[in-house]
Symmetry: C2
Subunit: 396 residues, 2 copies
Amino acid sequence: MKIFLSDAEFSARRALIRQRLDERDLDSLCLFSPTQVFYLTGFSFIATERPIGLVYHAEKDRIVLFIPFLEREHAEESHSDEIRTYREYPGDTHPMEQFANLLREIGLAGKRVGADSDGYGGGWGYVGPKLSEVISTDVVPAKEIIEKAMWIKTPEEIGLIRESCKWGNLAHRLLQEYTAVGLVETDISIRASYEASMAMINTLGPDYRSTKWEAFAAQANFRGQIGAQSAVPHAITTNARLRFGDVLVTGASSEIGGYISELERTMILGKPTEKQEKFFNLMLDTQNLAFETIKPGSRCSDVDKAVGEFYKEKGITEYWRHHTGHTIGFGMHESPFFDSADHTIIKPGMVFTVEPGIYVRGFAGFRHSDTILVTENGIEMLTYYPRDLEDLIILA
Amino acid sequence: MKIFLSDAEFSARRALIRQRLDERDLDSLCLFSPTQVFYLTGFSFIATERPIGLVYHAEKDRIVLFIPFLEREHAEESHSDEIRTYREYPGDTHPMEQFANLLREIGLAGKRVGADSDGYGGGWGYVGPKLSEVISTDVVPAKEIIEKAMWIKTPEEIGLIRESCKWGNLAHRLLQEYTAVGLVETDISIRASYEASMAMINTLGPDYRSTKWEAFAAQANFRGQIGAQSAVPHAITTNARLRFGDVLVTGASSEIGGYISELERTMILGKPTEKQEKFFNLMLDTQNLAFETIKPGSRCSDVDKAVGEFYKEKGITEYWRHHTGHTIGFGMHESPFFDSADHTIIKPGMVFTVEPGIYVRGFAGFRHSDTILVTENGIEMLTYYPRDLEDLIILA
């Protein structure tokens, strides 16, 4: 069982990025985003006010990771050639000044340096200069080099996402099993996530490790989308108590080697009313239509436009709240998007969520989300939880 | 029981920021950071690729919140005067262009506009222009206006942090109770966090709501700091099984109205060895020294330097890995920091963590973290979990 990326995968990534740098006539690439640094090295850590940086020297084929001393052990486990640590943030010499010194030392002053951003993005109280303010060299915006490399998932990445779907499926099955009138959403969510996580940990064994800072290995929840509140697409948990007749919108996932998947379902607590059934089936029809529209060679916008037309045809445009889906893999939402203005061409190896929703304010929301892989001919469903109404009714 | 900030608190914040803008001769303030937007309006949501923006027009004393249509309901619950939504990201007209149009419409073109950053920081696949690229006006860096306003906590904020400490304390008590040889860390953490969360939800009642996207209302865990791995200060969960003789470094917190606290303890599973006891007591002495050094009127750096001197005096500098602490409140780490290079003057109302650690590679790590309030004369401990070795030994 593969539960993390192989050394060969990281070698291939490095070769790919080196080629992209060559095509753009860049001598090196600097990275500050934890996601892009993970892509190139597998370095995983908890990002704080302490900045990190990476410099890839293309000619020397050499990756130097620049990190706070605090993170030494995680850096040692990563696919980098050299680790430089700074003492602490803010520290006597600002880390970004030290990073600039490092670039000069390895001969990059005056060279063409690409960067995912012009300095560390920070948060958590970080303040610092831009990279271009501390080194006299061209800092060329190059965020898209790795971003676009991430668009097409490799067989290894797809394998991890497939495995993630399994444990998300288990967590969701338990969530459905424990859902009952009178319980608080958090109670049900935690119990399901706890049991799925323990099953996953015990099944995958001691080699299984999280690369992210999450309470659960696998999880399923409602995140506040309960009853009338299910009409709020990105609700936040309210600790609502479930009532008879509630429409519930769920979410489930798990993490394997840094990769995740997305599974969401609309469930109904009690016998559905006619109105609930109508909107549920409209939502299902919309999702089915979206699946049929996804084809390699088409554009992302084609899918979202077809879905938009369907809303219009059915007279439900007023219940629209968001575009059809996003790519997923290391990040929960990655680019490109199934959005009417995203004209990226769909290619085999892309992994998308498909999740058009119907949101009737004051009544209920209806959304399934499935994770799909674009193949040579169409799509393959990676999530496999039942989608039909009869399987999602809870008589309790 | 106060479990969220009052309307009066938000009015006072707005008045304070208006005064700061006046002092800096700024006509308005634009915010893109979810933290800074929360500070001014209480708007809480799940930040994604869809950008948000806020513009505060000082003369008109008017806050306009610019958000994706998806977030309408959360915006309606916030302390803003007007809500403008854009359809979707990326959408036909980029949201940042629409935000610039909004600024022009309300008469801010050519005015002095302060901003917490020059555009939306993003992540999740967001790409967009800087604010200064879409509007021909001076965009003055002004992140520090709200950052510094957040330094001094108000009585209401302190009340929420106090309440957070209580539930963190319960979660930690349960964690200690459930800690036993042979169990997987995740098992213990989830059980403790589950019970503490349910007690909290049932005690605070249906008005209690999370403002963040967290699985638990209250939680306690080890986050991988188990046995030799406890020497990695910011470890990530490995799902280790606890063994007799392990040193454990824990963490606990809870969220109330957006505010959190931090409680961390070093526990020992089994009768401590002489070496474990020696380092535990050195860590405790270091923390005690730090407590004594914190005084209003001193500088943050004074505390960290005194701690550094103590490490030197005791001959344990090689076991140092990070500075003494950080402020906390809405964010997990806020500025200023107890760092040798942070010369901010300590003032009453600041809330800090105090957490000097000792990390012996290959052996174990030792760290307590307490949340303290700076008073007129010194400090008040807000966390109150036992700190002595005898209370933190688990004989199981």
